[in-house]
């Protein structure tokens, strides 16, 4: 395939990337701004990062968010992997289409509806809202993403490997943990990282299901911005973007490495 450089291509590319990344880039640049005014550049400084480090409320919100994201990612990975396993391995069972449809539906479900329905459920069951209700809520949608990632890997998994493990004396559970899981590990880890980042930046569902004392970072930022944007928020956002970017890059590199190792 010949890839010719044309002005049309170059223009499309530039416009696309500018559209996507200009706001983020501006936000990151202004996090190093000396001035308190977000729109006026007054020289380079890292003082807002220092300011952020002294902001107790922000730090506790960050800590809540990290805990929620970690628990969500772990729970979603376990449930999502199990769902993917059943969907791929147990072929055509009764109600499979319905089951797989219901697994993937939350991917396209409006967040407002997911959040509202969970809120109503928690109220109906009179569960006190707090950190754990956010974890449950995040797990419900994050596990769908894990199921998608893991099942795409399981589809190409040679079932004779599992049969070989059984043949060599493994019980089905032993075969799963000593053969299947190590082989699909890269996609399970990728699924975990995906769930982690999804939970990290969710605002809508978290604000529906959270309670007192469990303010997550996105909620904190959102409420802080309503009182006026401080460069502190820019600094915080820059850190968040970096975290998410690193997570996504690591996940995709793991997947890539795995594929190239297989084909090599």
């Amino acid at each position: 395939m010949t890839r010719r450089f044309t002005w049309f291509n170059a223009t499309s590319l530039t416009f696309g990337f500018v559209f996507l990344y200009l706001p983020i880039l501006l936000l990151m640049i202004y996090s190093f701004n000396e001035s308190k005014l977000v729109t006026v550049w007054a020289g380079f400084s890292t003082k807002w990062y220092g300011e952020l480090a002294r902001n107790e409320a922000m730090l506790s919100a960050a800590w809540v968010t990290l805990r929620v994201a970690f628990m969500t990612a772990t729970l979603a990975t376990i449930l999502g992997t199990m769902a993917a396993w059943v969907l791929v391995r147990y072929g055509r069972f009764r109600g499979r289409t319905l089951f797989s449809g219901m697994i993937y539906a939350p991917l396209v479900m409006p967040e407002v509806i997911t959040g509202l329905s969970l809120l109503l459920l928690f109220i109906a069951m009179s569960i006190e809202r707090g950190l754990y209700t956010v974890v449950i809520a995040h797990t419900t949608f994050a596990m769908c993403y894990v199921a998608v990632v893991v099942s795409s890997r399981l589809v190409s998994f040679d079932t004779s490997l599992e049969e070989a493990a059984l043949d060599l004396g493994c019980t089905p559970a032993d075969a799963f943990f000593s053969v299947t899981l190590p082989i699909i590990a890269p996609s399970v880890i990728a699924g975990w990282l995906l769930a982690f980042t999804l939970s990290l930046d969710d605002l809508v569902i978290a604000s529906f299901t959270t309670g007192p004392g469990a303010t997550t970072l996105p909620i904190k930022i959102y409420s802080a911005v309503r009182l006026g944007v401080s460069p502190e928020i820019n600094a915080l956002s820059t850190i968040l973007i970096t975290l998410v970017a690193v997570g996504v890059i690591v996940a995709s590199v793991l997947e890539k490495r795995w594929w190239s190792r297989r084909s090599g």
């Binding site: 004779s160 490997l161 070989a164 493990a165 059984l166 043949d167 060599l168 019980t171 082989i183 190792r261």
Partner: protein, 391 residues
């Protein structure tokens, strides 16, 4: 049919022939009793009964989709029979899960664990037996030596060639010292030269260990080379179970004669039979022909039965002049010559337009050959070389 029928033809007159299947009282190591396997409406294996004896190298042969792999997978425990029983050493193993059977399998794709080294792959099954580390190590080394892969112990499967992977898969399947080793198209992924060499290695290893081998293959040459007996399958049925020599010389049906090797089939009717050298020789009237032939009929055939006369191309003699005293003679013109270096196959067109193949070894150089295209030729064969197949 008489089981010994082939021995006079094979010419192997060893004092002690390994043939436990001739002994009616011998206890088989594996027995299929009326085993049927259905996948929905499709019957993959249809009421198969078969005995396999200890130390045998048994080949399940057949075209793809004939049910041979399903039969093997039922023995391994990956499929459960829809009906019938599978006995191993007299014990019904239907309820035994694959990990508890004294059977190991070598998979077509080799199914080596990509995340483990060669040594860890071979030791995988041993570790499941809760053996001590030193015992696992000793047995792994022994297996590496058996398949000559000592140097590659620390490699990962993706760093090995196809032939090396095949050896590791064999070593892994043998490590637990199974009573029965199942091989599912074990040489399918190897090139022709390596395949031939590996066939002999497999035979040597089997002889050395004395393990019962059951191999599934679609390659009739491979089955003929390695197996003590062949079970030829077609559409879920066992068409014939016999030694390679027997199945080649005494096929029991058109399908068997056609699947194993090359064969000329002439349709006609059986006539009177007479005893000749202790064998029934039957007169055969080909359809639309004036001349009759003589052929063997190991099963015995009623006069007037519609049947086929089967004769292998290499058993037909071709000559430009009419041979003296030939009981079975055909006349035709050379239509085509397939030159294969060591052999030439002559396609001879008879007066009625049908083609009969005759094969000759090229003892002389090509230039000195006295038969060429469009030559009138005579085809003849011994009565004992032709066989009548009931339809």
């Amino acid at each position: 049919m008489t089981e010994q029928g082939g021995t006079s033809l094979t010419g192997t007159h060893q004092p002690q022939v390994f043939a436990p299947w001739l002994d009616e009282t011998a206890e088989p190591i594996v027995e299929f009793r009326g085993v049927t396997k259905k996948f929905g409406e499709f019957t993959a294996v249809d009421d198969v009964s078969l005995k396999i004896h200890s130390r045998e190298f048994f080949a399940l042969l057949g075209p793809s989709g004939c049910g041979k792999t399903t039969l093997l997978r039922m023995l391994a425990g990956f499929e459960t029979p829809s009906a019938g029983k599978i006995l191993v050493e007299g014990q019904d193993i239907s309820a035994v899960p694959p990990n508890m059977r004294p059977i190991n399998m070598m998979f077509q794709s080799y199914a080596l664990f990509p995340h483990l080294t060669v040594a860890a792959n071979i030791g995988f099954g041993l570790r499941r037996e809760r053996k001590s580390n030193s015992k696992v190590k000793a047995r792994t080394d022994e297996m590496l030596k058996l398949v000559q892969m000592e140097k590659f112990a620390d490699r990962k499967p993706h760093q090995l060639s196809g032939g090396q992977r095949q050896r590791v898969a064999l070593a892994r399947a043998l490590a637990r010292n199974p009573k029965i080793l199942l091989l599912d198209e074990p040489l399918g992924a190897l090139d022709a030269k390596l395949r031939e060499q590996t066939q002999f290695e497999l035979m040597n290893i089997q002889e050395e260990l004395g393990t019962t081998f059951v191999i599934v293959t679609h390659d009739q040459e491979e089955a003929m080379t390695v197996a003590s007996r062949i079970g030829l399958m077609n559409h879920g049925d066992l068409a014939q179970v016999a030694t390679p020599a027997d199945i080649y010389e005494n096929p029991n049906s058109r399908f068997v004669a056609d699947f194993i090797g090359d064969v000329n089939l002439i349709t006609g009717t059986a006539g009177e039979s007479a005893q000749e050298n202790g064998e029934a020789v039957v007169v055969f009237h080909p359809d639309g022909g004036q001349m009759n032939f003589n052929a063997r009929s190991p099963d015995g055939i009623q006069p007037g039965t519609k049947c086929d006369l089967a004769v292998r191309p290499e058993k037909i003699h071709i000559s430009p002049t009419k041979p003296e005293s030939a009981a079975n003679l055909l006349e035709g013109h050379v239509h085509d010559i397939a030159y294969a270096g060591n052999l030439s196959t002559y396609h001879v067109r008879l007066a009625d337009g049908s083609i009969v193949k005759a094969q000759e070894a090229n003892r002389q150089r090509l230039g000195n050959r006295d038969i060429t295209w469009e030559d009138p030729v005579f085809l003849s064969w011994e009565s004992g070389s032709a066989i009548l197949l009931d339809r």
